[in-house]
Symmetry: C2
Subunit: 140 residues, 2 copies
Amino acid sequence: MPSIDPIERTLSRQGHRLTGPRRAVVDTMRLLGNHFTAEEVQQALPAVGRATIFRTMKLMRELEMICQVVLDDGTIVYQLVGEDESEHHHHVICSDCGKVAEFTSDGLERLLEDVASMTGFEVGAHRIELYGQCDSCQKK
Amino acid sequence: MPSIDPIERTLSRQGHRLTGPRRAVVDTMRLLGNHFTAEEVQQALPAVGRATIFRTMKLMRELEMICQVVLDDGTIVYQLVGEDESEHHHHVICSDCGKVAEFTSDGLERLLEDVASMTGFEVGAHRIELYGQCDSCQKK
DNA sequence: ACAGCATTGATACCTAGTATCGTTTACCGA
DNA sequence: TCGGTAAACGATACTAGGTATCAATGCTGT
């Protein structure tokens, strides 16, 4: 009996069990909105064990259901990935409110190829994060 | 009586004391070569307190004498910044041997400006790290 | 409906770093 | 060169974010 929920569907289709704690974690992430820390998820779910929260988040990261974002001060937040936007993308992060936005850029990818060949590296992955002020924080 | 060492010179010119532990940390970093973790510095200097290692490394980061590099698995290494290459740059990291190389790219900077205006963000800082195989690891 | 294995919670542990605090020491000025 | 003093020190305890262990629980295919 596949659930209607796309995240839960993907989990079970990938051979993972659909347990109460997992559903709770997914629901909580949606409640928390744009971005959240592991600790926020944890505090919202005192009934779920700490290890389970981290295990579930790790699983979701592996299945690319959430992505990890490193803020400029080094703290780590996560964001749910929508079905449509699951393609390769990067993040712009507001240093004031912490809001995380996404962007894609073909130009960027091409430029990275150039850099790769210049340095003699064969580049497989990258981490790109931009920090600044979102438009609403600029207005304040 | 300014010392001949450029790093030590900068330290004292910026109003910081030139202590034994600080000299030891700087020397050790040079011995460790291309890149090193805080733990490696620590283990090479059992006589120096753990807190002092981290305090010194934090200070050096603030004075931009070393830069922090996040590896693809999340571990953090550091690299001494040469006097000449102290300008804005990014890192290419070998996933096999951990070697850290640097690059600069005006094109990249320009592209990031574009992305910024597209998303409505005013971007102040960024974190860019490329992961791959360096030429010598490719040959193996 | 039930066996079996994935998953769980509790707990201990880990890495990377910061805070506190009483002691030591580099440095500047006399 | 000799203090006085604030900066820096080591030891220690603590934090954040995450992993390892292991016995108990509970999904799920048949």
